[in-house]
């Protein structure tokens, strides 16, 4: 079992020198595992990768619909929740791609489909140029060494009936490290790496605090020495003071091990802090995708602008008129025609409700180098326009347009 898998994981880095310190799987021959880990640590992770960076994960036109079934045997199809509805992007080796958006925008579903924890409806995901959706069980298992996940809820993501050692050691066990002593050695090393006391290996998750549990979850993800980790809201359930500890840990591990993250979070300040590039999702689509500085300084989609404007800042001096969107997010079962945001769009209103917003679905197009947005009127966004949109909205309490 060990042989072919090891070859799969190492085929892209035959020239990499063995690096026993880097946390490569201890149970695999050092020469075979290679070391993508650490390679990045010297140079790549320090600076955000440029546009020509090697593509590690490629997502192409990914669609995930959840059918709504009914009828006598629950087989007839009544409709579908269009959770992810045609999403394409690349994740480059060594970078953190942040994914933001409100609840129900499909970001968590997207993460799960990429990991093949949910079957896709259509589209493709490939990691290291290897499409994963067609893979059989054993080949998929090999790919799982390359991609791992850290979940949001540190209470739900750890099996309460397993010890820390069993939880962290499960990946290596499943992938062939049957030797208990070696496995424990590996687990201890991983616990040290995520800042936990190695003597806690025989304890149960419920004995730990939220932040520590999240570290256990991270250690579990690292155990297979993956290249790519999907972090699904990894700090949202944590206290403010603990959040920063975990964010720093993720940062350190990326530097040290050359990891690539897809970082899903609703907190845009957290996304900004951790990410090199950021995608913003709305109703199953990516509406904007740009380098982090560009996106936060000069957003080119009216939804991104509104989202950023809505974040309350911890600075009473910056109290300002916010651009408050009206109504609620429409149902993903029956999304609006054309641009999905047009029902709540402040820009469209400013421009006198142009027709193509309702009729034509905008494609993600390049606005400037390193910035793509899916809006027909991106160029019309100006600081003055945003300002006046914020100021000229009717008092919220008194007039509220129906969203549905």
């Amino acid at each position: 079992m060990t042989g072919p898998e090891a070859r799969v994981t190492s085929q892209d880095r035959p020239d990499a020198p063995p690096d026993p310190e880097s946390g490569s799987p201890l149970w695999k021959p050092a020469a075979d595992t290679g070391s993508h880990t650490g390679r990045r640590g010297a140079s790549g992770a320090e600076t955000a990768p440029d546009a020509q960076g090697e593509v590690l994960v490629k997502v192409t036109d990914l669609v995930k619909h959840f059918p709504i079934r009914g009828g006598l045997l629950g087989i007839s199809r009544l409709g579908a929740v269009r959770a992810v509805d045609g999403v394409s992007f690349d994740v480059r080796r060594g970078e953190t791609l942040g994914l933001g958006g409100e609840s129900g925008c499909g970001k968590t579903t997207l993460g799960k489909v990429i990991l093949r924890l949910l079957p896709p409806t259509s589209g493709d995901v490939s990691i290291k140029d290897r499409p994963i959706f067609g893979l059989s069980g054993s080949k998929m298992k090999a790919v799982r060494e390359d991609m791992q996940v850290v979940f949001q809820d540190p209470y739900a993501s750890l099996n309460p009936r397993m010890t820390v050692g069993e939880i962290v050691g499960e990946g290596p066990l499943v992938h062939g490290l049957k030797n208990r002593v070696k496995r424990e050695e590996l687990v201890r090393e991983l616990l040290g790496k995520v800042g936990l006391n190695q003597s806690h290996i025989h304890r149960y998750p419920h004995e730990f605090s939220g932040g520590q549990r999240q570290r256990i979850g991270i250690a579990r993800a690292l155990a297979l020495n993956p290249d790519f980790i999907v972090c699904d809201e990894p700090v949202s359930a944590l206290d403010v003071s603990i959040q920063s500890q975990v964010l720093n840990l993720l940062d350190d591990l990326q530097r040290e091990l050359g990891l690539t993250y897809l970082f899903i979070a609703h907190n845009l300040a957290v996304v900004e802090h951790i990410s090199d590039r950021v995608g913003v999702m709305y109703l199953g689509k990516i509406v904007e995708l740009a380098d982090v500085d560009t996106l936060y300084r000069d957003a080119r989609h009216p939804y991104t602008v509104a989202l950023l404007s809505a974040v309350p800042e911890p600075d009473p001096r910056r109290r300002r008129k916010r651009l408050v969107l009206r109504g609620d997010v429409p149902s993903p079962v029956n999304p609006p025609s054309g641009c999905r945001f047009h029902t709540r769009c402040w820009l469209r209103e400013q421009l006198g409700n142009p027709e193509n917003c309702v009729t034509d679905e905008p494609e993600l197009r390049t606005i400037s180098p390193g910035q793509q947005a899916a809006c027909h009127w991106s160029e019309k966004i100006t600081p003055e326009g945003v300002q006046s949109a914020a100021e000229h909205q009717p008092p919220v309490a008194l007039a509220e347009a129906a969203a549905d």
């Binding site: 996940v149 809820d153 499960e170 520590q212 297979l224």
Partner: protein, 314 residues
């Protein structure tokens, strides 16, 4: 405030380094294995401990007394007709001079055997159907759950009566099977609900992401967490089976009248309802004790197996 351990450590100047503080909190809890913890939680559950003790007493009586008295439970001795309690017959004798204590012990044995064996069938079928339905979901789930609905809609006692009278009344094995194959629906539903919920749990998803196979996911992750409803289903199953057997025998469709079971005793002594109510009281009491103990014990085990349940400090 009481603590289990003296935990005060020198604080102040030396702890500025922080960081490791987090672990210090964890270190306060002494390391115990899963089973040690489970036992501790169980002992805390006072009713369950009493129930366990009661069941143990009943089981030992049901094992010991019939072993040493052999066929005495059938022995009629007309000289002892309706005799009062003595040292060797603490419950007295019936109208044919049968030692009631011995007969009650034998009856308890029969009922417990039937209850225990039937519950294995119940839990077996229930777990099988429930876990497949819950894990697979979709149309498989739908199909199996409709099957459960159908079984559930049948008049159970009537079906059991039919099976028993068709395959030969009086045979303990037939009774066990009849109770078993009609009684698994609740277990299946409980297990299925648990599987359905756990299938989407983050820790199961994480195991899937690690590359764990279906078998490992089911046996290591889902089943252990589904133990709680399983135990409850088993406890209720035991109680149910014992009661069903009693009902069958009471109606005369159970085991043959010469054999002893709680049901046949109730049946036989129902005519003494006014003249000698204690003859009904004894088997009824045993029946109630079995049913109550089984369900309290089930509760206790369920809580004991849940590591999230806190352990009170002394």
């Amino acid at each position: 405030m009481d603590r289990t351990e003296p935990v005060d450590r020198p604080i102040g100047t030396t702890t500025v380094a922080g960081g490791r503080d987090a672990e210090d909190e964890v270190d306060l809890i002494p390391i115990r294995t899963y089973w040690q913890l489970a036992r501790q939680r169980f002992i805390q559950h006072r009713l369950a401990v009493i129930a366990l003790f009661t069941l143990l007493v009943l089981v030992s009586i049901a094992i010991v007394v019939p072993t040493f008295t052999g066929l005495e439970y059938r022995l009629t001795d007309l000289t002892e007709r309706n005799a009062g309690p003595t040292l060797t017959a603490p419950l007295g004798h019936d109208e044919l001079g049968v030692n009631l204590f011995v007969r009650l012990a034998k009856a308890t044995q029969t009922s417990l055997i039937i209850g225990g064996a039937a519950v294995m069938i119940i839990v077996g079928i229930g777990t099988f159907v429930g876990s497949i339905a819950g894990y697979a979901g979709g149309w498989v789930d739908n199909l199996l759950m409709r099957l459960v609905d159908i079984v559930l809609s049948l008049p159970v006692l009537f079906i059991i009566l039919m099976i028993v009278s068709f395959f030969g009344g009086g045979d303990v094995r037939v009774i066990i099977i009849a109770i078993g194959i009609t009684g698994w629906t609740l277990a299946a539903r409980l297990i299925r609900a648990e599987f359905l919920a756990l299938r989407g749990a983050d820790f199961v998803q994480a195991a899937k992401a690690l590359g764990a196979g279906h078998r490992r996911i089911i046996t290591r992750h889902i089943l252990p967490s589904a133990m709680a409803p399983l135990v409850v289903a088993a406890a209720l199953g035991v109680a149910d089976s014992v009661v069903t057997e009693a009902a069958l025998s009471f109606l005369g469709f159970g085991i043959s009248a010469t054999e002893a079971s709680l049901g046949t005793m109730l049946n036989k002594f129902s005519i003494y309802f006014y003249s000698a109510p204690e003859r009904i009281l004894y088997p009824s009491l045993v029946l109630v004790l079995i049913v109550l103990s089984a369900s309290f014990l089930g509760d206790g085990i369920r809580d004991a197996l849940d590591p999230r349940q806190r352990i009170a400090s002394k």
